[in-house]
C-alpha cells in the first residue's frame, strides 16, 4: 500500500553515475539529479541557487528561471526578511509567527494545521523505555498524568495550536474515537510518584533534554515545573542538535522533547515505532518501546491492502502507545509557508493541465509549479 510513497523517498531517487563514481569532494557540493531545477551555486550558510532544468520530464514546468534558498536560522529574522522583501517565501514552524502572518492581508499562507497530505508532525516528549527511571511504566504514567497539555498549548500555542494526545490528528481515519491516553490529573500523578519512588532509591529524578531553541526553552521549563509539582526532581539540558541526535539514537537520554511522525502513509513510521528497530547500537525507535503487540499491528497495516484492516491496525498502534506511554503528546507541530502577494500558485497549486499539483506535507513544498506576478 505504501509502495508509491516509499518510491518518493531516498529509496526511489535516481542517482547520477558521475556521482556514484566520484562520491567525494566535488560531487557532494555539486549535486546531479532528475528534478525540475539544476544546481547553480552554493555558498554554505549564505545561499543555494538553482536554475531551471530545460530537460525536465514534465513539459512546461518549472515556471521559475531561478530559485535561491537562503538559510536564515531564526524565525523572527525570517519574518523580518519577508516583511522587508528580502525574500519572497519563508517556511516557519513557530505558531506565533504563523498566526501573525496568517492574520495579515499582505501575505498568503499555507499550513498543515488544518489539512495535509497524510499525517502531520507531532510535538511530544520521548521517554526512554529501556533504561533509567523512565523504563518504569509507573514513572511514565506519573509523567503523563503530571503533564497538562491544555496548559502547554495555552501558553505556547499562540492561539493556533490545539491539544492533540494521539499519534494522528483529529479527522484522520486512523485516529480511534478514544485511544485511552491519560488525562491530566495531578493527584493521580503524585500517587504514582509515591508508588514508584521506593523502586528508584526513594526519589525520582529525570533529565529532560532539548535542542537550544528559544520557544522550546520555555516549553521544557514549563514541563519541569509541572513534573516537579508532582514530586519528581527534574533537570533540564539544552544540547546542540548533533549531540541531541546522538543521544536519541544511542539511547543515552531519559526524556527528550521531540517532534516527528509526519508521513504520507502510516507505514512510513514503521522504522520509528517497530520493536525491531529498538536495538543497539543505533535505534531508530528512539523510545525503545518493545511491545510485541505494536509489531503485530504494524505488520498487519503493512501487509493488508484493504482499508478497514489497515484502519484497525493503525488505530491499535495508537491505543497501544497510549498504554505503553513511550510518548507524551501535546499537539501537532505546525509547518507553514508564507509568501508575499507576488508569489503565485504555491497554496493549493494547479498544474498547467488543470490537475492539482503537489501539496504541502511535513514542511516540504514543491517550487516547481510556482510563478511570480510581474
Amino acid at each position: 500500500m505504501a509502495f508509491p510513497a516509499y518510491l518518493a523517498t531516498q529509496v526511489g531517487y535516481i542517482i547520477a553515475l558521475a556521482q556514484l563514481n566520484n562520491p567525494t569532494s566535488a560531487a557532494q557540493t555539486m549535486p546531479i539529479g532528475t528534478g525540475p531545477f539544476k544546481y547553480s551555486s552554493w555558498e554554505p550558510n549564505d545561499h543555494f541557487t538553482v536554475v531551471k532544468n530545460p530537460d525536465y520530464w514534465r513539459s512546461g514546468l518549472p515556471y521559475l528561471d531561478t530559485v535561491t534558498f537562503k538559510p536564515i536560522v531564526e524565525d523572527e529574522s525570517r519574518e523580518n526578511s519577508l516583511k522587508s522583501n528580502t525574500i519572497d517565501l519563508m517556511v516557519s514552524h513557530d505558531p506565533g509567527i504563523i498566526r501573525d502572518l496568517r492574520d495579515s492581508s499582505s501575505y498568503q499562507q499555507v499550513t498543515d494545521l488544518y489539512s495535509t497530505v497524510g499525517e502531520p508532525d507531532m510535538d511530544f516528549i520521548c521517554l526512554n523505555c529501556e533504561t533509567g527511571p523512565t523504563s518504569d511504566l509507573t514513572v511514565r504514567q506519573a509523567l503523563a498524568y503530571a503533564t497538562n497539555p491544555e496548559e502547554v498549548v495555552k501558553l505556547f500555542g499562540d492561539g493556533v495550536l490545539t491539544v492533540n494526545t494521539s499519534l494522528y490528528p483529529p479527522g484522520s481515519i486512523y485516529r480511534p474515537a478514544d485511544n485511552g491516553y491519560p488525562k491530566f490529573n495531578l493527584a493521580k500523578a503524585k500517587e504514582l510518584v509515591a508508588k514508584a519512588a521506593p523502586n528508584h532509591g526513594g526519589s525520582i529524578s529525570i533529565q529532560l533534554i532539548d535542542i537550544p531553541d528559544p520557544r522550546q526553552a520555555l516549553i521544557i521549563q514549563a514541563l519541569q515545573s509541572m513534573w516537579q509539582a508532582a514530586g519528581m526532581t527534574v533537570s533540564l539540558n539544552q544540547i546542540q542538535q548533533v549531540t541531541y541526535i546522538d543521544q536519541l539514537v544511542g539511547g543515552q537520554f531519559q526524556a527528550a522533547a521531540d517532534e516527528q511522525f509526519a508521513s504520507p502513509d502510516p507505514d512510513l513510521n514503521y522504522v520509528w515505532l517497530s520493536p525491531t528497530t529498538a536495538n543497539p547500537p543505533i535505534a531508530l525507535n528512539f523510545a525503545r518501546n518493545k511491545d510485541p503487540r505494536i509489531e503485530t499491528a504494524l505488520q498487519q497495516g503493512r501487509t493488508h491492502s484493504d482499508k478497514s484492516a489497515r484502519v484497525e491496525a493503525y488505530q491499535t498502534v495508537d491505543k497501544l502507545l497510549a498504554e505503553d506511554l513511550p510518548y507524551l503528546w501535546f499537539s501537532r507541530a505546525p509547518w507553514s509557508i508564507t509568501g508575499n502577494t507576488t508569489v503565485q500558485n504555491f497554496a493549493n497549486p494547479i498544474l498547467p493541465d488543470g490537475t492539482k499539483g503537489l501539496g504541502f506535507a511535513g514542511g516540504v513544498f514543491s517550487p516547481t509549479q510556482i510563478w511570480m506576478k510581474a
Binding site: 528559544p214 521549563q221 533540564l236
Partner: protein, 309 residues
C-alpha cells in the same frame, strides 16, 4: 580579563585620562570630582549603590520574595502591580525576584572569578615584578601568549563541550581567563615600586624577600589591584550576559541577568513584553557604570597608572 571582547570600551578609560593629563586638559564630567585627598561624592554614591545591590542578592532568601522559578500561568506577561512590582515574564514568573536572584549569579561569577584570578595572577605578578630574572621573563611571555589568543574564543569552545554548565564551572573558566590580565597589572605596579627608596632600604636592612613582598610591596599594590579588580568584575558580568545570548550561560531555569535579557529578546517578547529585557538591562547598566566609576575614582586617588601594562 578578556577586556577586548564584549565592550571595546571597558578598560580604555584610564588611558584616555592619562592622555588628558599629559595634555593638561581637565575632565569636566560632573562625575569626576575626586581630589588627591578623598574619593569624592561619586565614589561613595556608587559604592552605596553596589553595596545595596549586593545586600539584596545576599538577603534574597529572607526577603519573602516569590520563588524565582514559580510559574503562575494566570499572570503571564503581567505588568507591574502590587503583587509583582516589576511585572512577570512569559512563564508568569516574578521579574523582581528573578532579577535579584539572577544578580546573585552575576555577583558570584564576577567577584569569585576575579578573586581567584587576583589571588593567582596577583601572587605571580608580585613575585615576577620583584624577583625579575628568568621567572619574570617566562611568566611575562606566557601571559602575552594567552592574552594574544582571543579569550572569547577559548571560552566558547570550552563551554560548548564542558557540560552541564554550573556556576562553579563558569567561575573557574572566567577566573582562568582573568589570570594573565591581573598578573600584568600587579607585575607592572610592583615593578614601579620595587626600585623605590623604602624597598631598597628594607632590603639593605636585611629584610627577607617574604617580608619585603608582604609588608612593603603588597600594601602599595592593593589600590591598583582593587581598582582593576572592579573593572574585572564588570567585564565578568558583561561576559556572562554575552554568553547567555548563545545559550551558554548557566543552565535553565536558573535566573541570571544574562538569561533574563536573553529570554526577553526571544519569542517576540520585545514586542509583547519589553519589560522582561528592559529591567535587567537597566540593572546591568547602572551596576556597570557604578563599578567603572568606582575603579576610576580609585585610580585617580591613588595615582594608579596603566601606561606600562
Amino acid at each position: 580579563m578578556p577586556e577586548m571582547m564584549a565592550a571595546p570600551g571597558v578598560g580604555a578609560m584610564e588611558r584616555v585620562r592619562e592622555y588628558e593629563e599629559l595634555k593638561g586638559v581637565a575632565d569636566p564630567a560632573i562625575v569626576s570630582n575626586a581630589s588627591r585627598s578623598g574619593l569624592g561624592v561619586t565614589f561613595w554614591v556608587c559604592f552605596t549603590w553596589v553595596a545595596v545591590m549586593i545586600l539584596l542578592a545576599l538577603l534574597a532568601s529572607v526577603l519573602h520574595l516569590t520563588n524565582p522559578n514559580f510559574q503562575n500561568y494566570n499572570a503571564v506577561n503581567a505588568g507591574p502591580s502590587i503583587h509583582h512590582l516589576l511585572g512577570t515574564d512569559d512563564l508568569g514568573r516574578d521579574l523582581l525576584s528573578r532579577i535579584i536572584y539572577g544578580s546573585r549569579v552575576s555577583f558570584v561569577i564576577g567577584f569569585a572569578s576575579v578573586g581567584i584570578a587576583l589571588a593567582i595572577g596577583g601572587a605571580l605578578g608580585l613575585l615576577a615584578g620583584y624577583t625579575g630574572g628568568w621567572i619574570d621573563s617566562l611568566l611575562n611571555a606566557g601571559s602575552l601568549v594567552i592574552l594574544a589568543f582571543p579569550a572569547l574564543l577559548a571560552i566558547l569552545v570550552i563551554e560548548a563541550f564542558w557540560l552541564p554548565r554550573t556556576l562553579l564551572k563558569l567561575t573557574i573558566i572566567f577566573a582562568v581567563a582573568g589570570i594573565p590580565s591581573l598578573f600584568r597589572v600587579i607585575r607592572a605596579t610592583t615593578l614601579s615600586f620595587a626600585s623605590r627608596e623604602f624597598v631598597v632600604a628594607a632590603r639593605a636592612m636585611g629584610a627577607t624577600t617574604r617580608r619585603i613582598l608582604f609588608k612593603e610591596l603588597l600594601p602599595n599594590v592593593i589600590p591598583a589591584a582593587v581598582s582593576f579588580a572592579l573593572i574585572g568584575v564588570a567585564v565578568a558580568i558583561i561576559l556572562e550576559g554575552s554568553l547567555a545570548f548563545l545559550g551558554l550561560s548557566i543552565s535553565l531555569p536558573t535566573a541570571s541577568l544574562g538569561n533574563i535579557i536573553n529570554e526577553g529578546v526571544q519569542n517576540n517578547n520585545l514586542s509583547t513584553n519589553p519589560l522582561i529585557a528592559l529591567w535587567p538591562s537597566i540593572y546591568i547598566f547602572l551596576l556597570l557604570v557604578a563599578l567603572n566609576l568606582m575603579a576610576d575614582r580609585l585610580r585617580a586617588r591613588f595615582d594608579v597608572r596603566a601606561g606600562n601594562l
